[in-house]
Symmetry: C2
Subunit: 201 residues, 2 copies
């Protein structure tokens, strides 16, 4: 049996904050992807509030502490929403820094592991959502240059509506189980996701 | 609403390895403990194979990366089983080192956060289980001296039987959802656990 370890690295959306079932999308994606042929260990390294600057600072050390050669390791990033969060009138991370951080993270990760990236989800307020759409487009570009498959989720989640309805009923930032479940479905339907029904016994 | 962040730090049993539902006991304990009065963020910092030496090396830095003053932070440790794992004829960690590591971890944690510790679960083989029983008794002593509440689970889990039945059907080390669910129930029934029905609205 293949022994696969997946490191999910990013912000509160990776952590699954607000999910009363405590799975987030990583837990749901792993549960749906395991099979008799491969055991999947889920390491959820999402941290509330993390920006690309925070992720750059810690991701490699945290993965190194968890990595056990020769076991298979794969990395999935999810950040960006906190970079464009407005604090005291300006973005928490300047655009040029987001670009540099993300380039460094993705190019280094790709040299070490099969790597994927999932984009930021919708924001509740219109201006918040507009900033996240821009951020998602920016990361798509950077990921494309780095050769890392990128899943844009902001439009689909906004169109579907569950994410924002739940966030509006909660802390106005995080959804509940329905929103995370929707995001997990997008990941599972993504051709670049590593685990598909047809590959499984 | 109170915003509580709980750091679960330890080995594969904290990670929930083998649980097809990807909750482990920390996810189950958090899901059962949340209420309208307090949101609980779960940071699962369990790492497969980690000994007390590994935990000592990393725990404080990993918590520091996740801690957001003034939000409430609480720590739960679960390690010991890997310390007494026999590799090439001897324990992975010598008894004197386990004692020193555990003392350092618990006294430091207790000076910073409300801290709890959960003992190692049963082993499948008799000799493995005997070593874990000794380890559990040793950690109980150390935790007692450090003033950290300690939950011994090895006897109850062995008596109940689900843990070992599932582990025997799996990789002979980790149970499935039933074993982790049993462990979560012991944690939830523990008077020292921070969140109880009567405290909740």
């Amino acid at each position: 049996m293949e022994d696969i370890r997946v490191y999910f690295i990013g912000d509160s959306y990776v952590n699954g904050t607000g999910d009363p079932e405590y799975l987030g999308w990583p837990g749901r994606a792993c549960a749906a992807s395991r099979s008799d042929a491969s055991s999947i260990t889920c390491y959820n390294l999402g941290i509330r509030g993390d920006t690309s600057t925070d992720v750059l600072r810690r991701w490699e050390r945290e993965v190194a502490s968890r990595r056990l050669i020769p076991h298979d390791g794969r990395v999935v990033f999810g950040f960006g929403a906190n970079d464009c969060w407005i604090l005291e009138g300006k973005s928490r991370v300047e655009r040029t820094d987001t670009i540099r951080n993300t380039e460094q993270i993705l190019s280094r990760a790709r040299s070490l592991f099969p790597t994927l990236m999932v984009g930021p989800p919708p924001g509740i307020d219109e201006s918040e959502d507009a900033r996240r759409q821009e951020m998602s487009a920016l990361i798509r570009e950077i990921a494309g240059r780095a050769g890392v498959p990128y899943l844009e989720v902001i439009k689909e989640l906004r169109a579907e509506g569950v994410w924002q309805r739940e966030a509006a009923l909660g802390d106005r930032i995080h959804p509940a189980e329905g929103g995370y479940s929707s995001l997990a479905k997008l990941v599972l339907a993504w051709p670049q996701w590593w685990f598909h029904e047809t590959q499984r016994r």
